[in-house]
């Protein structure tokens, strides 16, 4: 095409380079569009792709698969009530998260080789514990949550 030929006056042109720039530009727009669609789907947190549930009764953990550094994340743990109940959360949780609240408040907490042990008051029926925590390190975090011999593995990706 005549228009794609280089002119030398009044400026020297390189239309090959120009055409390549346009191609990259168009490719970039497609990437922008994809990012928006994926974000709506929850790939960057808060959406269908991000909702994760680990395990079935008697112990289930509902959490966000995709999290972001410093953005508060929620973990909902449901387990059988009865006598005093203990929840054990493995060490990576302690190291990578800054816990802002646990509801209901545990009546005791201690550390063990397995991680953090939280003890909750006796309750009738299933017990729901909600943990709000801010991740402060990016990357993949693998956490084990256990109660009464049952263990659930969670993995989440924390974006920088």
């Amino acid at each position: 095409m005549q228009e794609l030929q280089n002119r030398h006056h009044p400026i020297p042109e390189d239309m090959k380079f120009q055409a390549l720039s346009w191609q990259i530009e168009r490719g970039g727009w497609i990437v922008f569009g994809l990012i928006v669609v994926l974000a709506l789907g929850g790939l960057f947190g808060h959406g269908a792709a991000s909702n994760a549930v680990s395990g079935t009764a008697p112990l289930t953990v509902q959490y966000e698969r995709f999290q972001r550094v410093t953005k508060q994340a929620r973990f909902v743990v449901r387990f059988e009530g009865g006598r005093e109940r203990q929840l054990t959360i493995s060490e990576p949780f302690q190291l990578n998260y800054n816990v802002s609240s646990i509801e209901p408040r545990p009546i005791g907490s201690s550390s063990s080789p397995d991680g953090l042990n939280l003890t909750f008051a006796a309750a009738d029926g299933p017990l729901t514990v909600v943990i709000w925590a801010h991740p402060h390190k990016f990357g993949v975090t693998k956490i084990n949550i256990g109660s009464a011999g049952e263990t659930r593995r969670l993995w989440s990706l924390v974006y920088p």
């Binding site: 228009e3 009044p10 042109e13 239309m15 346009w22 530009e25 970039g28 990437v31 410093t70």
Partner: protein, 157 residues
């Protein structure tokens, strides 16, 4: 350490986004574009500072940005082909009064944009009064008027 890395990442990601969005976005800045840029600045700032509102962090970020900018300008000066990649190249849009439509279409420049620049800079009214219209690397349109005065003026003279 992370302040420096964050600033460097933000510098290059923002460069890529703005470069990909095309020159049009920069040169023909409307009032809304201005607001958009303020929002981009605000959104980036939050991500950069995070929860660290210390002066140390602020100065580290500023110094890193300025240092990268100086470094890039030094690289550009030494290597023209890098400059071309970083900033783009000028391109002719109108040649001897004839619009190069394919180029204009790809660069998202309308005939009206060229005419507006011609009006603003030289008081020209028609495309045939333009010898060259050049889309500069920074997104501005430069107009070189046709050498001959328009016929109507000739008659008057």
């Amino acid at each position: 350490m992370d302040s420096v890395i964050k600033a460097a990442v933000v510098y290059f990601v923002l460069w890529a986004i703005i470069r990909i969005s095309g020159r049009r976005t920069l040169g023909e800045m409307t009032a809304f574009d201005f607001v958009l840029f303020l929002i981009i600045g605000g959104a980036t700032q939050r991500g950069l500072t995070g929860e660290d509102y210390s002066l140390t962090n602020a100065f580290l970020l500023i110094i890193t940005f300025v240092a990268i900018d100086i470094l890039m300008s030094l690289i550009e000066r030494g290597a023209p082909h890098v400059r071309r990649v970083l900033e783009g190249e000028p391109m002719i849009m109108v040649e001897n009064g004839k619009p190069l439509r394919h180029r204009m279409h790809r660069a998202r420049i309308a005939e009206d944009d060229v005419l507006e620049a011609a009006r603003r800079m030289h008081g020209l009214e028609r495309l045939d009064q333009i010898k060259f219209a050049i889309l500069e690397a920074n997104g501005h349109i430069t107009i070189i008027p046709a050498a001959k005065p328009p016929r109507s003026r000739k008659r008057a003279a």
